[in-house]
Symmetry: C2
Subunit: 325 residues, 2 copies
């Protein structure tokens, strides 16, 4: 029987944390972060000992109008360097590239010309071949690569095994479990992590966890995955992310025992930058409608629309969800 | 090796849920619930299939001024009957009696004269002998009895074993784990549940779980405890409870698979009664200061004071907490 790795008091040097605030948080405000915010976040992540900072998406300008989104939707090299300079630090930088929404041959150049260290390819499970094409390309360009297989709560075990086998034979470095709908319970996360880890150990890949907080389980599921061997853990400051948001940096860094992590800079950043965002009306975090889409294992878009309309008739919303499926 | 009980799809008939909204939620508003609120909550719990509803505390009028607290602090028989009538239903009613703050010989009469079914005795671990005196008294009066051993995260394993042995030999029906500070992680809850359950199986006692949401783990810890055999699970509507609050009824009833539970009445009650409470300024639920007291395994009182003062300087608060211990 598999055993948990490490104990609650020990730390595993293989565990690394990735701050996805600009990327997943950007989904809450169309990526309209100020330069001051991004620079302060970068400095804070450095001070907190964060291992990776995700700068945003590499979205295609043909599909998304740059006039309608902040720069972190596109992550042009000069915009990123304007924030991080040459990033001569121990912290690595990542961008996310969605399968089908990234013009990767045009927009992702050689690592030698970029401050970005890792490209995270996001795909649904039926897009694995397209993801592998991007992974191979980015690998050849010199980047670390990562694949985020989204909506894993909808996938069948046999498809997951198939996907893990295909990804195992690719040059990808990290394979992520992504609970896009915040529908997984910790027991399911444990089983899933064991399944991913078995493939990871066979093929020499690390396993990552990206959780959502629809059922107030983002933190619980993240540390559950970590305890069974996941080693790259996503978080966002104050849990900022689409809908119910993500595992909060302040929860995760408060839990991990690696002495290089520091909680105080995160706390100060919440006070100085996240509370003002909320005051400006940017919304994210647990709320009843997200619990309901999470429980129903469905996309949070209907809950986001419900809240945007100012509705509070949760029972009707629940009935609508039940009829849909 | 112990195994989890049941699966995520099955239901265990031994699992019962207890709504503690009037009691733990009352700590947020000095128990100033209107009769309309209490009656609607009672009707909602019945409609939702809830097994136990806690009406409040049996606090001593000598220690607490009835002019300063709502009636659910004292739970006089006539006040309760004014809400629930004779309660000729399948749902049982409970009250909580704090060791040292209840004049139990004066205020707790015979079960034959009361609509209350169960007395829950709350104590710290060093008060077990006093708790047993109350348990024996209430048992003789004809009540089901329950003991809530608070702040178990501060107790040593050997003291817990000692307490379980003493309680095992008492007439108490249910022994609760109470994570008063919201500081336990699921792995700890699993170990603790196994420890409590071993004693419970030896002495013929059920095990209960009362969680707090300081680290957004109240729901996760509750279902973790349930999976290892805890069978009486506390919840409050919308998680209303002291500080970061409790396991939310809407989360727990959305998870449990017993077909007798209904989620829709809870959702309607949140809309009709809990949102108005929040609009009136009653505060509860996860916030950064509670995460910090939870992580430090300390009482939330300092976090409650911090928020009441309108402070948001989390980093300073964290430094103050670190200095205290």
């Amino acid at each position: 029987m598999e055993k948990r790795k490490g104990s609650l008091l020990s730390f595993r040097p293989d565990i690394k944390v990735l701050d996805a605030t600009l990327r997943d948080g950007g989904l809450c405000n169309n990526f309209a972060f100020s330069d001051e915010f991004a620079r302060a976040l970068y400095a804070m992540n450095l001070a907190a000992g964060v291992d990776y900072m995700e700068m945003g998406y590499k979205a295609s300008r043909d599909l998304f109008d740059p006039a309608k989104f902040g720069k972190y939707k596109f992550c042009n090299e000069k915009d990123i360097q304007n924030i991080v300079g040459e990033n001569k630090t121990a912290m690595k930088l990542s961008v996310m590239a969605d399968v089908g929404r990234t013009d990767f041959r045009r927009d992702i150049g050689k690592k030698a010309d970029s401050v970005i260290d890792m490209v995270r390819v996001a795909c649904y499970i039926y897009e694995i071949p397209a993801a592998i094409e991007m992974i191979e390309y980015c690998h050849k360009m010199g980047y670390e690569t990562c694949v985020n297989v989204m909506a894993v709560s909808k996938a069948k075990d046999e498809d997951i095994d198939d996907a893990l086998n295909m990804l195992g034979q690719s040059p990808v470095d990290v394979i992520y479990m992504v609970d896009s709908y915040g529908s997984l319970y910790p027991e399911q996360v444990a089983e899933l992590t064991k399944r991913y880890l078995a493939a990871g150990e066979k093929w020499g890949k690390s396993i990552g966890m990206h959780a959502h907080n629809n059922q107030q389980l983002a933190f619980g599921n993240t540390i559950e995955a970590a305890s069974w061997g996941a080693s790259l853990l996503d978080m966002t400051v104050n849990g900022m992310g689409r809908g119910a948001g993500n595992c909060a940096s302040e929860l995760l860094l408060g839990f991990l025992k690696n002495p290089k992590y520091r909680l105080a800079p995160v706390l100060r950043f919440v006070t100085d930058y996240m509370l003002p965002l909320r005051e400006q009306g940017v919304r994210w975090g647990y709320d009843v409608p997200y619990l309901l889409t999470g429980r129903m294992n469905s996309h949070p878009s209907s809950a986001i629309a419900f809240l945007r309309e100012g509705r509070t008739d949760y029972e009707n919303f629940y009935n609508e969800l039940c009829e849909k499926d």
